[in-house]
Amino acid sequence: MDSDEEDFVFYGTPIEREEEITSRRKKSIAEASGHLRALPPWKQEVTDEEGRRRFHGAFTGGFSAGYYNTAGSKEGWTPQSFTSSRKNRAEVKQQNILNFLDEDEKTELEGQSFGTSSQFDTFGFTAAELARKQAEKEQQQRPSAIPGPVPDELVLPATESIGVKLLLKMGWRRGRSIRDSHADSLYESRREARKALLAFSSDDAKTQLTDSERGESHLESSVEQPANDDVQSSRSTLVYVLNPKQDLHGLGYDPFKHAPEFRERKRSCLSDNRKPGYRKALSMKDSLFGFKSGKVGPGFGIGAFEEYDAEDEDVYVTAYDFEDTIVQEVEVEVEEPSGVTKDRRPRLLGKEQGVLPGFIVASKSDYQLERFDPPAVPKNFVPHHKFSGPLETDKKFADPPPPEVPPPDDSNMKLLIDGVVSLVARCGKLFEDLSREKNQNNPLFTFLTGGNGHDYYARKLWEEQQKRNDQTMLAMDGKSSLADQKMTAESRGKLLLEKPLERSSKDLSSSVSSENAIHMQYNLTDTFTKSASYSELPEIIKPFKDDPAKQDRFERFLKEKYQGGLRSTDSGKASNMSEAARAHERMDFEAVAEAIGKGKHGKESLLSTQQFMGVSPAGGMQFTSGGLEQAKDTQAENLTTKNMYPRREEFQWRPSPILCKRFDLTDPFMGKPPPAPRMRSKMDSLIFMSDSVKPTKLEESDAVNKGPYPTPQSDTQEMSKIEETEVEVKVEVENVERPVDLYKAIFADDSDDDAETFDHKKLEEPEKKIEVAHTALNHLIAGDFLESLGRELGLEVPPELPYLMSKAKTAALQKEITNAVAKTPVSGTPVDRAVLQQRGTTQEGESLKKTFIPGNPQSSGGKLRETDLSENRTGNADREKTKEDARAKSPSSRNRNRSSSWSSEDERSRKRSRLHRYSSNDSYSDLSSDDRDRYHSKSKGRKKGSYHEKSSNSRRKHHKHKHRDSPSRSYNDAEGKKEKKKRREMD
């Protein structure tokens, strides 16, 4: 931009380069300020033509930011700090686009904005807008006494709008009320009050109200309306409303001040005095408590900031209908003169008719709801339900009997007819019709349609119906109708106002309902499966009618006995009866069925309960006894449930020191370290218990046996102990595990972990394991007895295997053994039994073999004592046998019986078997099934060693495993045997 360049003529706009621009500006600045070269570039400022700074740093606004460079408002782009205090409320500022526009932009916009020209300004909006703007302008020019914008009400359109003109031409005069549709909030809020006033202000307020109402909803009609009424007293600009006092409340008291919802409700209630049913539609629930659930506590809302959730549902709502009383109270409270309601009524009606504001109901609707005529009822239809059962027979009873007809020659035909007759008699006429329809073309069934054998059929049917009728009559006479017999003892007792028995009151809910369920099921299956042969059995034979459940079972039994077809699968083991009880009952049933059969043969035709009882009194006795037993059974069940609960458990609990202080008690845990957090679940607590038992057990065994390698004296002591009781021996077996126990007690805190560590240990150091086993044997049996036994063990694989294996399995759980009687009621299946049997025979074979192995004198002494013991045991076993019948059969108990029988054959083998029984069976059976389950589930997947695989097997299989073992196990054991042999040789 030197002076020499000025000679060129430029055409068009040159592309300005940055430097050029800056340099030019610099020049201009320099020209303005006069000290261009004086300042370094970073200190030079760019200003616009008014000298304002144009460029700002990025952090101070960038390009043309700031107050004077921008939109022109002080707020502009600068962040506003919002302050609002109680005394100095922040103004709510309505921002619109004009706040963000420059003056020039505004002028631009001004030209482009649309507006109604004043000529067509029907409602005066534009005029009002203009007037308001004018007022604002004026206010800005000369500040008035009242700060702030001019209220809209004060600014009235300056010109007469076209609408006004129109209205005037149509006859409207100033001062008359037409509702302008421009309804601001103030107007809205005052509308109701105004109406209230208007209602009383003049005689024809009614018409006025309706008019105004309609005018509000649709303007067109209101425009037409005002021509009719001349006496319009109100002005459209009426603002101040005087509420007439019509209630009995104190001055200024508004009953609905805090509950405006009621205002509406009250009004509607009043207007509904003659319109019942409307209240229902506008029920409290809908209007006031329209919460999502609908189950809300009446009258007691929750805080405004509280979320309304499920917890707040009023649980008592069903129990107590509160709403109506509230409504009543409100009604009573705000009673108004009855005249008002009369006035109000049409208005509300009108409101109801106009469904939506701005819409009217069409006088003629295009839409026609399609309606269909109800199905035509046949002329011969009689609106009475016919009962197909005994009712029909009653009716037919009066019919004259068809003549007696000899049966048809064809015996097959006779049978068929008999069958059909019995079915028809049972199921009613409907069945006959059905079968007739079905077998129209079947030549065999022509007797139904009047063909061959129809007479016989008719006669038979009549006979059958007669018979059935008689039966029911008889039953009635015996004041035990069928329904009565199905009645439970409890309900009958209730009918007779008897005091309920102890038992019956106890199992009211559960057992009765289940009985009913069974009954129901039975009835259902009965209708489908009863065949001719069974139906000939008189139904009223209910030998067990004092016990409906048993009667059911009996009937099912009969059905199974005499009849094929469908039958319910759960027939036998329906209820929770024990097997023994079931067997007993079955025998009873057999006897009864036989008696019934006899009775039938003897009498042929009818059999009533009384007759039947007369025929076989002994049987009757039996049945009652059976029933009693059943009662006892349920009582026993109750007892067991009763015994289950209440269940007491004990835990350690640590009160906080301050709690003890506040209770004036000394802290039981004073000075002790904080306790470990207790496990939450019940399973865990069980384990916890077993853990806590451990140390004491350990001590116990310590007391018996000091040190890991006991002296011979202690051994002899142990010998005597062995012979004393089984339990004692078991303790000794535990003793074998002692080193492991110690290990566990010290290092382990969870039994499951124990199992795993033990497993590890076992797998890694099988030799050590064997040593443990060996020491165990050392502990157990002294001297040569040990030697002989050891030889046996060395020779024979099967007895040794389970011992070790079981030891491994039960390592963690063995401490729970407390007595020899098996507790877990695992019912033995036939397979189980077979396996056991098999095993028994093999064992016997083995033991026979072993008898030839010579024993030492000492060992024989041992044997002698053993025989004593064995005798005791067999006696015990016999005694136990009876118990075990009642008890659920567990394999272990069976095992014991079996083993006791062996004992006579060979003491040593028995002893051996006993040994491993202690270690395996009993320990297993002693564990609660729960515990085992947990044990299994936890151990699963942890280790794929043989041990866990086996433990996750079922208990039944476990017995097999004792004999046939997994390869790894047998390998270990083979090693163990070798080891033992070595040791023996060394000895």
């Binding site: 506590g297 009258g299 007691f300 509280e306 008592y316 107590y320 106890k506 609960y645 209440p646 004990e650």
Partner: protein
């Protein structure tokens, strides 16, 4: 006490609560009673004269239980707002507010010296609060329950809680031991016999069970009433001769303590009976119900 001495005659009806009354309790000497309800208020009454004395308002939601100290100077109340309010009886001001329960608080009790408050919550815990210090933190949280704790009783050395998990747990502070008596049925109310040897537990199978506290043995079961879905209280009479309890059909039952026979039964309310409280000395009883009334019964 013979059968005829049972309070069966309605002496007074205390009206004032709006909506269900959830609990009504006699004070220590039986001259006054306290009630609380869905209307978020606690009311103090003279039940014998039928006078409403005072109303205590502060709870944000329904008040489920209330208890007063032996010297009648302080109140404790709890409710659906998960808070426990510690009130001054005469001024009606809240002295302290204990917050900490994660859910609704079902029951609350003072200990003998009114130094400690024990509260039972829907959050499966019992919490012990200190009245003497200014701390509003619980001094002990007992959370061994497996379900909502519905009711709590205190003796001189023990805290007893009954829970929906079917257990009645006794926490012996002196020994540091927890005894859990599993009844197998949800327990919605427990109350101590006056001799302190037995616990009466109201179970949701419509059965009241009497437990021996030392052995945990089930001594007796009382049936006949309906208690299946609501918390309905039960208690023993002041002589421990009878057991009384409310039913969901609004009737009151009296059982003989020993032979468990229903000695008396009458319709007391039109709706679920939420609470029964027996006078400590006289043959008098108050019952509260969802129908919004508290009724005073005398012989």
């Amino acid at each position: 006490m013979s059968q005829s001495d049972l309070p069966r005659k309605e002496a007074t009806v205390l009206r004032g609560h709006e909506g269900a009354v959830l609990a009504a309790r006699f004070n220590g000497d039986g001259n006054y009673c306290l009630s609380c309800g869905k209307d978020r208020t606690i009311r103090l009454w003279n039940p014998h004269r039928g006078i409403h004395i005072k109303t205590y308002k502060s709870h944000g939601r329904e008040v489920r239980d209330v208890h007063v100290t032996a010297d009648n100077s302080k109140l404790i109340s709890c409710g659906g707002d998960r808070q426990i309010y510690y009130w001054d009886v005469s001024t009606g001001r809240v002295i302290r507010r204990f917050r900490g329960h994660d859910s609704e608080v079902n029951a609350v009790k003072f200990n003998e010296y009114a130094s400690v408050i024990v509260s039972a919550g829907y959050d499966r815990s019992l919490r012990v609060w200190d009245c003497r210090s200014h701390s509003t933190e619980p001094i002990q949280i007992i959370d061994s329950f497996l379900d909502s704790v519905m009711s709590v009783c205190l003796t001189k050395t023990e805290i007893i809680g009954g829970s929906v998990d079917g257990t009645v747990r006794t926490f012996d502070i002196r020994i540091g031991r927890e005894l859990s008596d599993d009844l197998g049925q949800p327990v919605n109310c427990i109350s101590l016999s006056n001799d302190g040897n037995c616990i009466l537990a109201s179970c949701l199978d419509s059965t009241l069970r009497l437990l021996d506290r030392t052995t945990g043995e089930l001594l007796q079961e009382y049936k006949g009433h309906i208690c299946k879905s609501y918390k309905t209280d039960c208690c023993l009479t002041n002589t421990d001769a009878h057991v009384t309890g409310g039913s969901e059909d609004g009737s009151i039952y009296f059982w003989d303590l020993v032979d468990a026979s229903v000695v008396s039964k009458f319709q007391a309310h039109s709706s679920v009976v939420t609470s029964v409280s027996y006078h400590p000395k006289d043959n008098s009883m108050i019952t509260s119900s969802v129908d919004g009334t508290i009724r005073v019964w005398k012989t």
